[in-house]
Amino acid sequence: MAKASDFAGKKDDELFYVVEYSPEEAERIGYSNYSYWGSVLRNFLKNKIAVFFLILFLILVVFSFIALAIGKYDYATLVPDTAPAFTTPNSEFWFGTDNLGRDYWCQVWYATQISIRLALIVAVGECVVGVIFGLIWGYVRKLDRLFTEIYNLLDSVPYIIYMTLIALMVGQSFTIMAVSMIFIGWFQTARRVRNMVFMYRDREYNLASRCLGTPLWRVLTKNILPYLVSVIILQTALNIPYTINMESTLSYLGLGLGIETPSLGLLLAKVRTFFLDYPYLLIFPASIVSIISVSFYIMGNAFSDAADPRNHV
C-alpha cells in the first residue's frame, strides 16, 4: 500500500500518467477458465443429430474419392454407346447408365466433388468478404452511405445481367464461376451483419468500451463479433445449399459451369427431362444434393446454437 507520504512533494505529472493499452490486462477482469471455442465445440458435440450429419458429410466427401477409385469406369474415358442406354442400376453399372449408355456412377461422384468444392469455396468466400465489410459498414457511420450505395448498386442490377455478361466476355470456368458467385453474393451477408451491428453498436457496454479507448478493431472483434457468430455461421451454412441450388438454376439458363466440370446442378438440369421415365437418374444426384444441404442446415443450426455465448453457462 502506498502511503500518503510517498506522494508528498511530487507533481501531478509524476503522479498520474496514461497507462498503455494492454490486451492481456484487459482480459484479466472477470477472467475464468473459460474458452469460447472450447465451449462451442462441447455444446456442438452434445447435439447428436448434428454430429451424425457432420460424420455423414465427411463420409460423403471421403467416399466420393473412394467411389471414383473403385468404380468400373473412369470419368475421363466414358464412351457413349446406345446399346446400354437407360440401364437401370445393376452389378455392372451401379447407378445405371444415362441416355447415352454411359456409366452414371462415376458421373455422379465426379459431379459431387465439383459441387462440394464450389459450394464450400463460395460460402467461405462470401462469409469472409461479407463479414469484414459488414462490420465496417455497420460500425463506421461515415461509411454507411458509401456502403449503402455500393450495396444498392450491386443489388439493384439483377445478378442475371452480371452472370450473362461475365459469361459472354470472360468465359465460363470453375474459377470464374466461383469468383462471380462470391461477387454477387457477399453483400447479402454484409447487409445481415450490418443490421446486427446496428443493434449492438450502441449498447451500454460498447459505449463504455469506447470511453475506455478500446481500438475499433477490438470493439468489433471482441465486443460485437461474438454476438454475430451464430448468425454468420447459420448464414454461411445456408449459403452452401443455396449455392448448389443457384448453380443448378444457372445451368438451366445456360450460364453454369463449362462441360469439363460437370456439377450436380448440371446433372440435375439435364436429367430433369428424363426423370419421369427413369426416376433413378434423378434420385441419385438429388439425394446427394439433399444430404449435403440437410447436413449443412442441421450443422449450421446446431453450431449457431452452440456458438451463442448465452448458452455456454
Partner: protein, 676 residues
C-alpha cells in the same frame, strides 16, 4: 385406345372448353371437316367432302398445339418480320397471292390464276374479287384490290418504312426494285412521303392494269417467280391503315390494330403463354376449306411438361424426346406403344459446313486444319467414312437412317415437268441406292472402309507438314445438355470411323450466339447449319456456295472460301479453288437455262453431284421427329419455302390418336400421290 385413358381425356377436354366459355357443339358438323390428301388444287370443299377421319375417330373441332417458348412471336407485321416463328402465326392471319398445297406446290390464294410469258420474265396474276380486310373483331374494313399489293411492295422497298426487312428477294428478282430501294435510302426521312405511285414512276417492275390484275416484270428471266410471289415481301398492305396509324404505328401494329385477310383472327394473345385463333368470318376461302372452331397454341418451356400435357389431353400433338421414345418402346403395355408416328422432315437440309479458313482462339490461322481440309481425299474421308447412324438416333431413335441427308438441296424444293423430285436427279448422278434402314446410303460403296483414302490423305498432307491427329473443332451451346450429348456421340463416331491417329473431334462452347461468337470469329472447323429455302429453285441452295457471288451466304460466312479466294489462296489451296471454280461455272451455266425446266434442273443436279463428289460440304441431317398426334401431318401444307406450313386449314384430325401403322399408310399414299 386405352380404356383407362379415354374418360380422363374427355373430362379434361370438357373442363377446358367450359373454361373457355364457348360451347359450339352445333357447329361441329360444319367446321370439323378434313380433306383428302389429293387436294392438289387446294380448293376442294372441306365441309362437303369431309369423310370420316381414316381411323374412325371423330374429327377435332378445336386444336391444342404448342410452340417452344424461345420461339415466341416478336413482330405482328408480316412485311416487317423476318422470323419463321412470327410467320407461323401470321400465316393464319394474312394471305398472300399464293399459298401451297401439302406437296409444296404453289396453289391459288388471293390470286385465282397466274401465267407467265415465254422466257418467264413477265408474270401476270389474276386476283379474286371477293377478298376483304377486316379488323380483329371480324368487322370488314376494306376491299383488297391490286392496289393493296402495290402499297405492300412499296412499303417493303422503302427503306425508311420497312427498315430494309425482306428486301433481298424483290431487289434480286424484280426490275428496278434495287434502284428504288437505293433511292429511298438517299431520300432519308423524306422517303416517308413516297407512295406507290412514286414507285411506279421509278419504273419498278410491278403494275396493276386493272383492279384485279397484277403484272410483275423480272430483271432476268425467272422460271420460279411464282414461288417468290407467294413470299411475304409481296403481301398486300392497306393504305387506309397506314394512313390511320402512321408509319411507326403501322410497323408496330399488333394483333389488335392490324387488318386481317387470312383464315383466322386472333382471339387472345398472352405473351409467352397462349395464342388462340378463331375463324375469320369474312375469309374468302370459307366455303372451300375446312377450319377449326378454335386453335390454341401454348408456349412450352420444356418438353417434359409437353408430354405431361399430352397425357392430360391438354395438347393434341407432342414431339417425343429420346428418353420418352425409349421408355414407350421398351414397354409393350404402354398406351402409346403403337402410336409413335414419324413426322415428315422439317424443311431444313442440315450440312456440316467445313471452314476452309479456321482461326485459333487467339486469332492466328489454324493451318494444320486449313491444310488438311483443303485436301480432297481428306474431305472425302468425311463423306465416305463417317457413319452418323448414332448421331441420327439422337433425333430419331427408332429409324435413325430416316434422318440421313445425302444432298445439299432440301428434298421437295422443286419437281421437274415429269414430277420427278429434284434431289432424286442428284441421287441418280451419284449412284445412290434407296433407303434400306440398315446402312447409310453414301457409305454403301465401300462399306464405310476408307483405309485407302485415309492413307492417301495422310501421305499427301504429311508432305506439306500437317501433323496428325488433326483436331477438328465443333462448337455447342454452353450447358445445353442435348447438344452436349450429340457432341459426345459425334466424338465417338469420329474415333470409331477415323481412328484417333487421324482426326479427333474437340468440343468447344459458346454462350449465346453461334454466329457472333463462333462463325464470325471463324473458330469452328465445321458448323452444322440448315438452309431453309426462300423460293422453289435449286439456285436458292447452290447459290449460297459459289466462290465469287456477293450473296453466296455460306461461302462468305461459313466455309469462308470466298474470303480465301479474295485474299489470295495459299499454294495448298490451289486444288480446292479449282474445284470451287468448276462448281461455280456449273451453277452459273445451269442458272442461265430459263426456257427448259427439265434441262435446268438436270444441269443443277450435275453441279450438285460435282459438289458432293468433292465433298465441299458434308450433308448431315434431316429432322425426322417422332410424335404422338391427333393430326395427320400429311394433310398439312408442306412447302419447303414460304410461310404457309402452319396454316391451320384443311387438316385431317381425329379424336383417336393416330397409330404408327396409320401414319405409315399415310406416308405411302402421300408418296404415291406426289409421284403421280
Amino acid at each position: 385406345m386405352n380404356a383407362n385413358f379415354e374418360p380422363h381425356a374427355i373430362s379434361r377436354r370438357t373442363f377446358l372448353k367450359g373454361a373457355g366459355a364457348v360451347g359450339a357443339a352445333g357447329l361441329l358438323a360444319a367446321c370439323g371437316g378434313s380433306n383428302s390428301t389429293s387436294s392438289a388444287s387446294g380448293a376442294t370443299s372441306g365441309a362437303a367432302s369431309a369423310p370420316a377421319a381414316s381411323n374412325g375417330g371423330a374429327p377435332l373441332t378445336e386444336i391444342y398445339s404448342y410452340e417452344s417458348n424461345v420461339r415466341e412471336l416478336e413482330k405482328w407485321n408480316v412485311l416487317y418480320s423476318q422470323n419463321a416463328s412470327d410467320f407461323n402465326v401470321l400465316t393464319n392471319c394474312v394471305d398472300g397471292l399464293l399459298s401451297s398445297d401439302c406437296y409444296g406446290k404453289p396453289v391459288a390464294a388471293i390470286a385465282e390464276s397466274w401465267e407467265h410469258n415465254e422466257d418467264s420474265s413477265v408474270w401476270t396474276f389474276h386476283l379474286r374479287d371477293d377478298v376483304d380486310w377486316c379488323d380483329v373483331n371480324g368487322e370488314v374494313k376494306g376491299h383488297i384490290t391490286a392496289k393493296d399489293f402495290l402499297v405492300g411492295t412499296e412499303w417493303v422497298l422503302n427503306q425508311y418504312k420497312n427498315e430494309a426487312s425482306n428486301t433481298s428477294m424483290p431487289t434480286t428478282t424484280l426490275l428496278g426494285a434495287q434502284e428504288y430501294y437505293d433511292y429511298t435510302v438517299e431520300q432519308g426521312d423524306a422517303a416517308a412521303n413516297l407512295t406507290y405511285q412514286d414507285m411506279l414512276d421509278h419504273g419498278v417492275g410491278i403494275e396493276a392494269p386493272d383492279d384485279y390484275t397484277l403484272v410483275f416484270t423480272c430483271k432476268n428471266p425467272c422460271p420460279y417467280f411464282d414461288t417468290v410471289a407467294g413470299y411475304v415481301c409481296f403481301y398486300p398492305a392497306s393504305e387506309d391503315l397506314i394512313n390511320e396509324l402512321g408509319i411507326e404505328g403501322f410497323r408496330a401494329a399488333t394483333y389488335a390494330e392490324m387488318y386481317y385477310c387470312g383464315p383466322y383472327l386472333i382471339e387472345e394473345f398472352v405473351q409467352s403463354n397462349t395464342k388462340s385463333f378463331v375463324p375469320n368470318p369474312n375469309w374468302y376461302g370459307a366455303d372451300d376449306h375446312s377450319r377449326f372452331e378454335r386453335v390454341v397454341v401454348t408456349m412450352l418451356t420444356d418438353v417434359v411438361t409437353g408430354y405431361q400435357l399430352y397425357q392430360n389431353r391438354e395438347l393434341d400433338e407432342i414431339e417425343l424426346t429420346e428418353s420418352t421414345v425409349t421408355q414407350i418402346q421398351n414397354d409393350p403395355s404402354n398406351e402409346y406403344n403403337d402410336q409413335m408416328c414419324e413426322r415428315q422432315p422439317k424443311k431444313y437440309s442440315y450440312q456440316f459446313h467445313f471452314n476452309y479458313q479456321r482461326f485459333n482462339d487467339d486469332g492466328t490461322p489454324d493451318d494444320n486444319w486449313n491444310k488438311a481440309i483443303a485436301n480432297t481425299a481428306f474431305r472425302q474421308c468425311f463423306m465416305k467414312g463417317l457413319d452418323l447412324t448414332r448421331y441420327f438416333a439422337r433425333t430419331n431413335p427408332i429409324n435413325p437412317l430416316k434422318c440421313e441427308n445425302d444432298y445439299y438441296t432440301m428434298r421437295g424444293v422443286c419437281y421437274n415437268t415429269q414430277g420427278v423430285e429434284y434431289t432424286s436427279l442428284v441421287g441418280k448422278k451419284m449412284g445412290y441406292g434407296a433407303y434400306d434402314g440398315e446402312t447409310m446410303i453414301r457409305l454403301r460403296d465401300n462399306g464405310g472402309d476408307i483405309a485407302d483414302l485415309k492413307k492417301q490423305a495422310m501421305d499427301e498432307l504429311s508432305a506439306i507438314g500437317v501433323t496428325f491427329p488433326v483436331h477438328c473443332w465443333n462448337y455447342i451451346l454452353s450447358s445445353n445438355a442435348t447438344q452436349q450429348d450429340s457432341a459426345a456421340v459425334l466424338k465417338q463416331a469420329f474415333s470409331d470411323c477415323f481412328g484417333d491417329d487421324f482426326i479427333v473431334l474437340d468440343t468447344g462452347e459458346y454462350v449465346s450466339s453461334l454466329t457472333q461468337e463462333v462463325i464470325n470469329a471463324q473458330r469452328e472447323s465445321y458448323a452444322s447449319s440448315g438452309w431453309g429455302a426462300d423460293f422453289g429453285d435449286p439456285i436458292n441452295f447452290l447459290g449460297q456456295e459459289t466462290l465469287t457471288d456477293a450473296n453466296a451466304y455460306y461461302s462468305w460466312n461459313y466455309s469462308n472460301i470466298a474470303k480465301v479466294y479474295e485474299a489470295g489462296p495459299a499454294d495448298w489451296q490451289a486444288d480446292l479453288i479449282d474445284i470451287y471454280k468448276q462448281f461455280e461455272q456449273k451453277v452459273h451455266d445451269a442458272d442461265a437455262i430459263v426456257d427448259d425446266i427439265d434441262a435446268r434442273y438436270d444441269a443443277f443436279a450435275d453441279a450438285e453431284a460435282y459438289m458432293l463428289q468433292n465433298a465441299l460440304t458434308m450433308p448431315a441431317l434431316y429432322e425426322v421427329m417422332l410424335a404422338l398426334t391427333h393430326i395427320n401431318d400429311y394433310t398439312k401444307i408442306n412447302a419447303m419455302y414460304g410461310i404457309c406450313n402452319y396454316k391451320y386449314v384443311d387438316w385431317q384430325t381425329s379424336e383417336e390418336a393416330y397409330t404408327t401403322e396409320q401414319y405409315q399408310e399415310f406416308e405411302a399414299a402421300y408418296e404415291a400421290a406426289a409421284k403421280a
